[in-house]
Every structure is written in C-alpha cells, then in structure tokens.
Symmetry: C2
Subunit: 254 residues, 2 copies
DNA sequence: CGGAAATTTGAAATCGCTCAATGATAGTGG
DNA sequence: CCACTATCATTGAGCGATTTCAAATTTCCG
C-alpha cells in the first residue's frame, strides 16, 4: 500500500532525495486512528498539518441544518489541513474512514520547509492548484448534474486517484464508504444514493458486492458524468525558466 | 474603484514596496474588454495568468449537457488563471461580466516572481488556500442547502468580498449579474432563482431595484445561509518563525 | 423608438426527499 | 460459536422542491 507514498508530491516535478528526506524529517509525531475517529474537528485551533500515510480520510464541513458536506476524500500521500493554514480555526473536520496513520507537522516546520526547499514549495503550490481544479469539478458536478451523473463522476474520480497511489488497481477496487458517506459527498440523501447506485448497476455501468466496486464501462461512465477531462502538466518548462536566477529567503518586511 | 487594488495580496501579510513594485512590473500587456467578452476560454493553452484591475469576471466550467457552472466570480485585485497553472489546457472560461481591464502575466514572469519574492510567494500560497476554503463553502452550500439558502449565502459572500475591495460599500451594492448568472453560480435554473429572490424580498431580508441589491437583515441572512463563518489569519507568527533562516532559490534537481 | 435581453408568472412534470419499514451484514460480549 | 446489537442497504409510498415549457412584461441598449 505504501509503495508510492510521495506520488502526490511528485505529480508535477521529481523531488530530489534531499527534498524527500527533509520532508520526512519534519514529521513530529505519528498518530494512529481507528475508523470513525476524528483527527481534527472543525473549529479547532490550527497548530499543525498532517501527512496521511495510511488509510482514507473524509474532510467535511458542517452546515447549520445538521447536514454536512464531505468536501474531499483524502488518500495516502496527501497533506491534510493545508487550506486551514489561512484560518484562525480549522474549516473542516478530518474523520478516519478506515484505520488511519498520519504524521503531524507543526506550522513552524511546515513554513520552514517552504523556505529551505523552494522547489518543493512550488510543487506544493501546484498541488494546491490541482486541488482547486478538483473542487471546481466537484462543484460543477453537484451544481449542474443529476444524481446518477454525480455518482458516476465521483466513482471515476476516486478510481483515478486510487490508481495514482497504487498502480496495481484495475477496474475493481474497495470503496470504504457507506452510502451515507457517498450522499454527503455528492449532495444527496442516502436513500437516493441507493437508488442511483442500483440504476448504475442496472445499466451495466458498474457492479457492486459489499464494499467492492467494479467499473464495467469507463466510456459510458465518463459520458454520463459529463465533466471535462483535465490533463495535468508534468515538469513544466517555465518552472525552470527565470526561476533559478536569484536567491532569497522568506523574510519580514522592514 | 482602484483604491485598494492590492487588498488581495495584502490579506495575509503586508507586502513591501519592493514586492508591490516588482509585482506591478511583471504585467506584459493590458487587455480591455467589454461585457460578455471572453478573456480566455476553457481548453485554451495555458500561457499566462491575469491580474484583474477593473470589473467583474465570471469563471465557469462547462458540463456536457450544455449547462455550465460558474465556479468563481472575480473582483478587482484578484489573479485569474492560477489554478490552471497545473494543467495543459485551461479548466475554466473567463468572461467579462462588466467592462474589464486585466494585465496579462507570462508564466515565466510569474514563476520568476515566486523566486525573487518568496514572501510574496507565500502570500499567494495562502491566498490559494483561502480560495480552496471558499470553494469548499460553495460546495457545502450547493450540496446541502435549499435554493433560498444558497442565494442568501452567495449574496453575503459577494458583499463581504466587495467590502474588501472597496471599504465604502454599505449594505447596498450593484450586482452586475443576471438571474441566469446567479443560477449558474448556485446550481439552479434562472426561473427558480427568480422565485427564490422574490421570496427573500418577501421575507424582508433583501431589497432589489434593477441591479442594485440591499441586504436588509444580515443576521437573518446568515442564519438562513447556515454556513460556518471563517476568520482569516493576519500575519501569522509561524510565518516568521523558522522561515528566514536560510536562503535558497527554486532550482532544478541535478 | 425598436429589438433584444432580462424578469416575472403560471401550470404541469420530474427529481429527489421524507418517513417508515424490512433485510442484510458485521462486530461484540458471553 | 452464537445471540445480540448496531450499522448499513434496500424498498415503497407520498410529498415537496425544483425543473421544464410557455407566455407575458419589463428593462436595457443602440
């Protein structure tokens, strides 16, 4: 499972061994959690970010009517809590969907990374932009498409991300989410998620047994989902263009 | 209107005059557009980012069924096109909602900024995190709340951002969006947006005349919207903690 | 002033939600 | 290993929110 833990940091550039080892060194403590345990709740003070090394995590935001939106599902190799860096109090709750292992990184250490390894910093910047694009896609899916399309879009999305962590994933994979979780992801009730999943089943697009899902017809699913496909850059040449000319550190203004 | 053009870059730290002047220098050409004109379309190759100096811009993503989602509305002082930096082809279309002026910044120049002014870079990093939080809020609103609540949430949101650009904005402001635009923002049809706006009217929460909107009852609107309120950090101490110790540039791995 | 775009309104159809009940599955303690 | 319990999945029926289609008004702009 651990085979490609840094795939996320390597999405846009190849990190040097120095970069990777420095990154590994900033971890201060390792936390192990069981399913349903909370890593950090919405509203908690922002003292650290987390590097997810094992398991799945739901990142959710509560709405006053008692409902909640799962805004992201995080997989091994991802950083948790980066968006809340700009806030006094955390915006989202991190809940373990499976047994989970995370490494806590203090804000000082994280900011230090940013200065010591500016190229890694730029990688993290690009990863954040990728997350923005993915959030936009989710918003487009939830805002503009029907139940069955939203589910198709999410299944394709999570399958693709799973493949990046573990290249051995085929068309079939374990989805450790209840139908309630799915409902909170795609903005529906769990009853309607149930009916829509069976409809995907009936149409021969997917197959389910227990928590295992098989995507039978990728083309059909993509067409149904209706979202544009996005090709991510790899080592863009402009990154190495003007970039290396000067040296500087992050420094307060006079 | 132009009074606080750099409010966005100054959200988290106070930029030095060097930082601001360097930032201003990277602009390569100035584009002036009329309402409805496209600055850059979804799918176009990613050659530049844009600094919006005047007017409102809708950032939208198309879905196959012919509908589209407006994922962001940008106001003066904001950068356009940063998320698409991680893509081969642009993810969103930028369309002028009013007469607009933008400055184009080449990717090389932008990457150069990142290296020359790492503190400004970190500011931009934090602005990106803020955008992620705002997108999550929008997703929660669209995914989990009813039509009237989504509109309340959006009106509060845009009012708050407007105030940051122009402190003189009171409870009343010009909203240069059609009801179709609003529909594409909150994930409804324009017919239902119309009915929901009149319902907000009827309840005495807002008042409309032409494009001018007055928010009559902020407390009521906030309660209705049902979203958590988020307080953004200002000059966080961890930013100056470990950060200034080293000097480095963005550099390719060996 | 004329035409196009935007807003408003009505009526019917559809989608998704709520409430309620039944079955299936997995985990727990004895 | 089994009984017990909680959680999860499934199904039905009726209701409510939102969409769709269609048409009338109003506003905006040249």
């Amino acid at each position: 499972v651990n085979e490609n833990l840094f795939s996320r940091l390597s999405t846009f550039t190849n990190p040097t061994s120095l970069e990777l080892s420095t990154f590994e060194d900033v971890a201060e403590k390792t936390l192990t959690l069981r399913r349903k345990e909370i890593i950090r709740a919405e509203g908690a003070s922002v003292n650290e970010v987390y590097f997810l090394t094992e398991g799945w995590v739901a990142c959710s935001m509560n709405v006053l009517n008692g409902r909640r939106q799962i805004v992201t599902v995080s997989l091994p190799g991802e950083l948790l809590g980066v968006p809340s860096l700009c806030l006094e109090r955390a915006a989202v709750t991190f809940e373990a969907l499976t047994p989970v292992v995370v490494q806590a990184i203090s804000l000082d250490a994280f900011a230090g990374l940013f200065t010591k390894l500016p190229r890694l910093a730029f990688s993290m910047f690009l990863v954040s932009q990728q997350e923005r694009v993915l959030l936009m896609e989710r918003l487009a899916s939830v805002g503009q498409t029907k139940a069955i399309q939203r589910l198709a879009a999410f299944l394709l999305h999570i399958h693709e991300r799973l493949q990046q962590v573990d290249a051995s994933v085929g068309q079939s994979f374990e989805l450790p989410l209840t139908q309630s979780d799915l409902a909170e992801i795609v903005g529906l009730t769990f009853v309607h998620v149930n009916r829509s999943l069976r409809e995907l089943d009936r149409r021969g697009l997917i197959e389910r047994s227990g928590k295992r899902v098989t995507l039978l017809d990728f083309e059909g699913l993509r067409e149904l989902a209706g979202l544009p496909s996005h090709q991510f850059v790899r080592d863009p040449e402009w990154l190495n263009g003007e970039a290396p000319r000067r040296q500087a550190g992050i420094r307060a203004p006079r």
